[in-house]
């Protein structure tokens, strides 16, 4: 009986707690009926107060070692949550080997970051920018106590954390910071681009050129959709009803520094995770949603414009004539079978670009619910 008592007591305590906050605080996804909702980990259910708390934390520079850098420093809403830099810069000035990825529809990413096959939950990924040391991003390694002190002393956090985590004896934890930020990032969902409206029957949403560009994009001639396919324009996509683990990493022939397919040593892609030479230069295909506002391109921002991106793919790999990374990516032995090259007329090229521009969802770039609550206090609910 004694053994049963504790679980029983816990159960009795949990039931009213759940009843108390669930109905009033249930999070409503605003997603069109024909589209799936994101998968949410069972130990971090969505709630409105948690999302709002996560938004504050996302924009709070006090979560960095010198109070200069928040998540939003490298993920700016106006740039579809990228930072416009080729490679991001951390709180202490350290240059990141890679560029900040867009957070748009990250909730649907089956794996996170550019090339980490281990990270499949935002709750795990969010720890790296905050605590990672190589490179330093927010620089909080070993400063957990400092974060907990902030959570207790800040009037918003001290009030919101118990509401967002009512079952926790001590809600002022790094774990709950991570959970809240993850919940907020899951709400950055974009399905309101001209392309989406076109799909839903608004034939005027896209120009004729963009429609022709769409046909090119989904053609076997250009092969774009093999990696950038599906509702989120990436083959590493999952959702609440997904039953297979879809993950894709691809070498796009961007580098070939030693004529044996090597990528620059600080940016070898999946190879850094697996140590398997066949994974050299393999990176995740990012979503193409809002791609027109997320320049520069590729994992290291080494391509300035979408036009140049198309040229590299048309060539079947990038040629770098000089510099430390010189080499012909087309000849890389690790290159994806889909990077075969193609010819494109000037009209076709501008059509394809028009299609890529039709993937920009203006509303996500302006939605006050995703904006900085410190800059615009009225938007705080």
């Amino acid at each position: 009986l004694k053994k049963l008592l504790l679980p029983l007591l816990l159960a009795l305590l949990t039931v009213p707690a759940v009843l108390l906050w669930m109905p009033e605080d249930k999070y409503e996804w605003h997603i069109a009926k024909n589209l799936p909702v994101p998968e949410v980990p069972v130990d971090n259910p969505m709630s409105a107060v948690k999302v709002e708390l996560g938004r504050r934390l996302f924009y709070d520079a006090r979560l960095s070692i010198n109070s200069t850098t928040s998540c939003a420093s490298c993920h700016l809403q106006a740039l579809a949550f990228t930072d416009g830099r080729p490679r991001s810069i951390g709180a202490t000035g350290e240059l990141h080997p890679r560029g900040a990825m867009s957070l748009v529809n990250t909730a649907y990413a089956s794996r996170l970051t550019w090339a980490n096959s281990l990270l499949d939950r935002l709750e795990d990924q969010a720890l790296t920018p905050m605590f990672g040391e190589n490179p330093v991003e927010m620089g909080m390694a070993g400063k957990e106590t400092q974060i907990e002190q902030l959570l207790r002393s800040d009037p918003h956090y001290s009030r919101m954390l118990p509401k967002a985590f009512p079952a926790d004896e001590n809600p002022y934890s790094v774990l709950n910071v991570i959970r809240s930020i993850a919940a907020f990032v899951r709400t950055i969902v974009s399905f309101e681009s001209p392309y989406d409206h076109f799909l839903r029957g608004d034939e005027d949403a896209m120009s004729d050129g963009a429609i022709r560009g769409m046909e090119l994009f989904f053609s076997e001639r250009l092969e774009c959709f093999h990696c950038h396919g599906g509702f989120n324009f990436t083959d590493s996509t999952t959702h609440a009803n997904a039953n297979v683990d879809r993950v894709g990493y691809h070498n796009t022939g961007l580098y070939n520094v030693d004529a044996f397919g090597a990528y620059p040593a600080d940016n070898t892609g999946l190879y850094d995770m697996t140590g398997d030479r066949r994974d050299m230069g393999r990176f995740k295909a990012p979503t193409l949603r809002n791609i027109a506002v997320t320049a520069p391109y590729m994992h290291d921002g080494s391509v300035s414009t979408l036009d140049e991106v198309i040229s590299n793919y048309a060539r079947g790999g990038r040629l770098l004539d000089f510099g430390p990374n010189a080499g012909d990516g087309r000849r890389s032995p690790y290159k994806s079978e889909f990077i075969r090259g193609f010819e494109l007329s000037d009209t076709e090229r501008s059509d394809l670009l028009a299609f890529l521009h039709s993937l920009t969802d203006q509303s996500i770039l302006e939605d006050p619910a995703l904006a900085n609550p410190f800059m615009n206090p009225e938007s705080v609910r």
Binding site: T113, N116, S117, L118, L119, D120, R121, D124, Q125, L127, T128, F131, G132, E133, N134, A141, G142, K143, E144, T145, S173, V174, L175, I178, A265, D266, T268, Y271, D272, M273, T274, G275, D276
Partner: protein
């Protein structure tokens, strides 16, 4: 009577002498460079310590006649599980700046009363605990700075020194792990360090962590801080890995290590 017989049974079966009583034993560790002890707060020397923290597991003591006994650690809420300890010589002073002021430079435990002449241990976290969530794990695995979330495991060892503008730091841990964070099935490069000190008199000697050996083949005069995060493409990894007895390409113990040494206490 029967219970007593049972407790003697392993002794009879193994044909080893069992005096029964286990005595408390302490094994101390000290960081050294060029034969001198190093401490974070000591910034007057040519070389300064910037970090030294590591996990130790699978600790065994060896007697003169080759008997190997398990050194059972005394469980506490900060540093030790019965078979795993965090040694932490980073005190937040000097150039050590991302740890706490707390330090722990000793293993505390119980061992049968014998004369021990050898010490073996593994620098690392056992696989079954290496992929736990540090935000919910028990001490000493709750230490965020000892975890690299992007490699989904613990940093077994973090060590760093600096001299003027040059420096080197190493973060050692398993790489090439398969699966996803919540469900890691194995790692192609475990990178656990096997230490065997066959001239170690327990109760008298100290374990020196010789950072001279760790950076012996690192160019410390290139004007920049060099680092190794255990990645397969990092050119600054093979040398310190070799000092730790590890084959950088394979991630396994290939030969004996040179960093952990017996320091005779006079």
């Amino acid at each position: 009577m029967i219970r007593r017989l049972f407790s003697l049974l392993p002794c009879i079966v193994l044909l080893v002498s069992c005096s029964g009583a286990k005595l408390p034993l302490r094994i101390d560790f000290v960081p050294v460079f060029g034969g001198q002890a190093l401490a974070c707060g000591d910034t007057t020397g040519i070389v300064q310590l910037t970090d030294l923290r590591f996990y130790v597991t699978d600790i065994e003591l060896v007697t003169a006649n080759g008997e190997v006994v398990n050194f059972q650690l005394e469980e506490n809420s900060t540093w030790q599980q019965p078979d795993l300890a965090l040694l932490d010589m980073e005190d937040g002073q000097g150039f050590c700046d991302n740890g706490t002021s707390d330090i722990n430079a000793s293993l505390l435990g119980l061992a049968p009363e014998r004369d021990y002449v050898g010490l073996r241990f593994v620098v690392g976290v056992p696989f079954d605990r290496n992929h736990a969530d540090p935000l919910t794990a028990n001490a000493p695995l709750g230490e965020g700075a000892m975890h690299w979330h992007w490699r989904a495991g613990y940093k077994f060892l973090r060590a760093g020194i600096r001299t003027a503008d040059d420096g080197f730091w190493l973060h050692l841990g398993s790489t090439g792990c398969k699966g996803t964070v919540q469900d890691i099935s194995g790692c192609s490069s475990p990178n656990r360090v096997q230490v065997e000190l066959m001239d170690f008199v327990a109760g008298e000697d100290t374990v020196a962590v010789d950072l001279t050996a760790l950076v012996a083949d690192i160019d410390l005069k290139n004007g920049i801080a060099t680092d190794c995060s255990s990645g397969p493409a990092e050119s600054s990894c093979p040398a310190p890995f070799a000092a730790l007895g590890l084959d950088h390409a394979a991630g396994t113990s290939a030969h004996s290590q040179r960093v952990f040494q017996t320091q005779v206490r006079f």
